[in-house]
Symmetry: C2
Subunit: 220 residues, 2 copies
């Protein structure tokens, strides 16, 4: 019997799942939909992943694997900052990964290895174990390059005028703050918020605080 053009295996299944999620969103990645994309019957996937949950784990591992390995020979702050910004660029390539990670409750070995390596950066910088404990809690999902912005900020230009009037009357503070254009009025990002700026602003605010605690020999 003629062999299939390319034999199905776990990596092919995961790569196809990531590609499908990139192209059509994570909702398109159903066992049935993915099977169709691969030209196989749905049940064929269960030979390579135990269930849907393990499929998602594998997809997340693939994304985390794209994050750059740590650079050495620089101070802890620079090392951590680079790693987190690298994670961010990876997550921007796979927008579905944020929600996928949020939906999981236990980490895979690959995710644990990533976190272990990040913790190592702080410890190598001389921060106390207790301080790093709090720092990791405070970092939260930011280690993976994303923050929890609950709602998309719609560019002001796209809001119909009658809605804008209603908003200004009902929520004057939101409108005042949302229409402020702090960093660059004619910036390349155009209308709306410069998410990259906001991400780095918060990251630096956070790293400032940690550095200050560390310099003051903070413990317990």
């Amino acid at each position: 019997m003629p062999a299939r053009r390319e034999q199905l295996n776990r990596d092919r299944v995961l790569a196809a799942a990531v590609a499908l999620a990139d192209a059509e969103g994570v909702d398109a990645v159903s066992m049935r939909g993915l099977a169709q994309r691969l030209g196989v019957v749905p049940m064929a996937l269960y030979k390579h992943v135990a269930n849907k949950d393990e499929l998602l784990d594998g997809m997340i591992d693939a994304v985390v694997g794209e994050i750059e390995p740590p650079v050495s020979e620089v101070d802890w702050r620079t090392t951590v900052r680079r790693r987190i910004l690298s994670a961010r660029t990876v997550l921007l390539r796979h927008p579905w990964a944020r929600r996928a990670m949020e939906s999981k409750t236990t980490p895979t070995p690959i995710v644990l290895a990533y976190m272990d390596s990040t913790i190592g950066m702080f410890l190598a910088g001389g921060l106390s174990v207790d301080l790093v404990h709090h720092v990791m809690h405070a970092l939260g999902s930011r280690v993976f390059g994303f923050t929890q912005e609950l709602y998309e900020t719609t560019p002001a230009a796209e809001v119909p005028p009658e809605v804008a009037r209603f908003m200004a009357a009902q929520f004057p503070n939101i409108v005042a703050v949302a229409t402020s254009r702090p960093h660059d009025p004619g910036s390349v990002v155009g209308p709306g918020c410069d998410d990259q700026f906001e991400f780095e602003f918060t990251l630096d605010l956070f790293l400032d605080g940690v550095e200050r605690l560390h310099r003051n020999d903070w413990h317990s």
Copy 2:
């Protein structure tokens, strides 16, 4: 014909949905499951909520409505701190609400009003509109009293010894940091992390940073 013991209306539907989510988790709140709980046919719910999405919005509004109104006559930092800690106690009463809010992409008027009021606290304290813009981005979901802790921290006591040995070998940094007990070795919270302590630690680290920027007349 005999009237039902209690006439069904929107508030009864929402209250039952919140109670069901509190008791059995948000997954138990399906249109079918909720209808059964109320002793009505599934389609009867569609008279009071347009669809599942609007049901979730109503449940979230009910939760946000439980957050204490702002106290006045104190400085902005105290006002904001109290509000956020109040939001946190509400969210702890309704553990499902965090994920429910994460799943939404557009805020309801009640959520907008809450955010407007929070922004007003910063502005009333004299912070510049530009600074408050960044601060709201940096706060993210923390305004609602939760942070994005991706994975639950399992109490060390519950980890089987062979798993503990494996972890120590594979992820020494995680183990070192996870087994540190920074704030109180014999605390009331017992094994695991004191989430309340970590939440306040991060919140105060954040407020420290904001206060410093504000005192330095930070703008743009």
